[in-house]
Symmetry: C2
Subunit: 504 residues, 2 copies
């Protein structure tokens, strides 16, 4: 089944629909869910009603305790684990007699910071809508117990998708498993983090301080949005990241563009030339040695990548694009390569705010996404060396008059990010088993050797556990933005999926 899927996307679709019938736990969960939709939504709404911004300690504690008691209500011993100054991790554990392996389910219960004014309804007062806001979906009451919810309806609330959905899916799957008397085969651990959206400042410390507690054979990161094709996505790695801020200088005060234009160096133009020199017109990065040391994809990874559905046309339409940067390569392929992206650039003022000046400085913020084999610091070094090669004197603090007077071109470069890529081999027996299990529950999958984004891999780095990302939220869930939402069918599919993985 699996080989068939990798080699030909077409047969995978068929295999999927058969396979979905094949996982007993998933089927049982589906049936149980259909009889308890209102109860599941009630519990989800109560969890979504507790504000969960990482910096708000009291709220965070309420979330953690609520989830702890939700686990214990289901017979799962749970506790809060932390280090000084950190938001607690909710830890739960099911010890299965005779089990020889341990599956760790990770999610995070904190949500991205927000501006409530931007939301259509308050972010912590969850509502059900009979469609997306973009399609004029109206707020509707929760359906009466015993009736089915339209699966295309959506729940609007902060963290409805990112990342309380997997927590509710796990809890519902546990209920279904218990109600059906299904047996587990593995030990199960739950690890629900409380400050992921704040950049996980303490998560690695918490793991390091409790290595035995968090140990396991596979770490399922239940986070991120699904694939745009609607197929179940499994992601085996991520891109790392290295970031720099670059500021280049003109005159130390803004000068009149009439009285000094053509004479005083214009830092906006200098920055434009510098940035332009970093990439060719096809998106290839021109920094010396940028691509050195990259670990190539394995044959299995290449085959998986070749089977990823081509979403380019649909996405180009959605994002109003008339071209893509690395064409004819497709999105999935391009995400396997490192990138250099300008997050922003600024100099002087534009439009109605512009004035007749030569600006004093120009700044760009850059992120470079790294693939396996690239080091964040070494990559930043290569960028800095490249800037030097363009004639810049590079400093790591704001340059004063003397430095600026004594060098034709000065760049102040600071490093802002640093994270290595990870890639869990798809060939590992545990990887293969996760794939088989997911396909048996959800049918055709999309298997990405790596995400394009950066998902900190504390499990791999601290504990050495293979990490596989298992998303359930809809790809258009507005995560990190206002009006975050979850499509009901994604929650239902997530419950099937968690039931299958819990009984793996």
């Amino acid at each position: 089944m699996r080989r068939c899927l990798i080699l030909a996307g077409l047969c995978a679709a068929f295999a999927g629909s058969v396979a979905a019938q094949g996982n007993g736990a998933a089927l049982a969960a589906r049936q149980w869910r259909q009889n308890h939709e209102r109860a599941i939504l009630d519990e989800f709404f109560s969890l979504l009603s507790v504000p969960n911004i990482a910096r708000d300690e009291t709220d965070i504690q309420r979330n953690a305790e609520m989830i702890e008691s939700m686990l214990e209500k289901r017979g799962v011993p749970a506790k809060l684990v932390s280090v000084p100054g950190a938001n607690p991790v909710v830890f739960g554990e099911i010890k299965t007699p005779g089990a020889t392996r341990t599956i760790v389910f990770y999610a995070h219960y904190d949500g991205a910071p927000l501006d409530p004014k931007a939301w259509s309804t308050p972010p912590f007062q969850p509502v059900l809508r009979n469609g997306t806001i973009g399609n004029d979906g109206a707020v509707v009451p929760l359906p009466a117990p015993g009736t089915l919810v339209n699966p295309e309806w959506r729940i609007y609330a902060r963290s409805s998708g990112d990342d309380k959905a997997p927590i509710i899916a796990i809890l519902a799957a546990l209920d279904a498993i218990r109600a059906d008397g299904l047996r587990m085969k593995s030990n199960i651990k739950f690890v629900f983090e409380g400050e992921e959206e704040a950049g996980s400042p303490n998560f690695a410390k918490i793991l390091a301080a409790n290595k035995g507690l968090f140990a396991g054979d596979v770490w399922l990161t239940c986070d991120m949005p699904s694939h745009q094709s609607g197929r179940q996505l499994l992601v085996f790695g991520d891109r790392g990241i290295s970031g720099v801020d670059i500021t280049v200088y003109g005159p130390h005060v803004e000068l009149h563009s009439g009285h000094y234009g053509n004479w005083a160096p214009n830092p906006a133009m200098m920055l434009a030339k510098l940035l332009a020199s970093m990439k060719d017109d096809n998106g290839r990065v021109l920094i010396d040695h940028f691509y050195d040391g990259i670990v190539p994809l394995s044959e299995t990874e290449k085959q998986a990548l070749a089977a990823v559905p081509d979403m380019d046309a649909q996405l180009m339409r959605e994002f109003w694009l008339g071209s893509t940067e690395g064409a004819p390569k497709h999105l999935a392929e391009l995400l396997m390569l490192p990138s250099l992206n300008v997050r922003g650039m600024s100099s002087g003022r534009t439009g109605l705010q512009a004035s007749n000046v030569i600006p004093s400085s120009a700044t760009a913020t850059i992120d470079m996404r790294l693939v396996k084999g690239m080091d964040p610091d070494a990559t930043a070094d290569r960028l800095i060396n490249f800037v030097r090669k363009q004639g810049y004197f590079v400093v790591d603090s704001e340059p004063g008059a003397d430095v600026r007077r004594s060098h034709p071109k000065v760049a102040w470069i600071t490093r802002s990010l640093g994270e290595k890529a990870f890639r869990t081999p798809m060939d590992l027996p545990i990887s293969q088993e996760v794939i088989r299990t997911v396909e048996s529950a959800r049918g055709a999958t999309v298997l990405m050797p790596s995400s394009g984004a950066t998902v900190p891999d504390a499990a791999g780095e601290v504990l050495g556990i293979p990490n596989i990302v298992v998303p359930i939220a809809n790809f258009d869930d507005n995560q990190h933005s206002f009006d975050e939402n979850l499509r009901i069918q994604n929650l239902w599919d997530g419950i099937d999926l968690m039931a299958a993985l819990l009984t793996m």
Copy 2:
């Protein structure tokens, strides 16, 4: 004398100090001024105390009426001239029996918009300081009548330099001329505009509606800062201007730089490449036909330019520059060439405000300074054609989904400015006479064929009168910024100069 000056800057300095003795009116004005410094400052302070932002009608009217009565007090018939919706021009006229020519003195009594919070003392409460604020100059009382003011002291107030200083210098010179019984040889007209800092929206209309009233043989624009060398500056022209705003597009919403980086076109990088393609590393503009049609400098203009003191080293030190754009050419030379300047550029956000996105668009605001022979619209057309040549589909209104989807690269370009250059020939008899008169009063001059900046030449365009700019304010007067100030010696020199020009 004049030939000597043009051919060798060194002899000009000596010639100047002798010549300053040579102009009787200038000498008389100096003597008269030394006996009336306090009275001159009192009158100046009363004029500076009336707020003069062009949009504040009541204030503007008070300024106009005050200047009108200041002229009439000196026996100069004056009136306010306007068109509907415009701030009035204060017009005054001295008819000299037997005179065969008319000299028009132009200045403006409105001041640049300001933010009072940025000022060290309120902008419309003039104060005298015993030095610049940068050198810890303290506020000091006005000296007692009959005592001399330290000429290095400064008056701080909006319009102290730009542009009420010439008005007060003219009024004081008139007093000195009357007190000494000096005779005028020309008819004199005074034209004091009230909305120059608002872009002179009505000045050409006022001139066109009153051509006879404003007619004359030479138009002396008493505005702009002096030369940094301290020598008296005369400017015979300006650079014109043509401006565009360019916006280029990526995805219509900001996209996650991890999930889409390398695939979604980055508009910041696109704009960087576009801007970088517009100029070479030595500042030469690469837009096709950009330099076509330029009227070259005459031999006299070239000689004048060659005699302009080289201020590059001093200015580089002052502005913290380690290089200049068009080196080894000097500032004065470079200002005779057209320029392309990026006033500002913006895309996404930088530094602490940056987020992990591919921005949705990127904008640059550009001004191009034009020299004689270049047309503002044709120059903007050339830029637009150049952008097209780089593969962009160019639109003149914000592009929607269809346009953006159907073209690989889309640029929205709007035109924002348009003004031709002017250059009054230095060889005209009246030009030569103005130069001789100024040198007889002030010694060595700096003669610029053109300013680098744009000084609307309504006199030339509407009335066909040769226009010569005669600045008196110190070059470091902070005009258009906060803490605008006038060096006392510049005012005293201005009175000498105006006395000489009034009796020319």
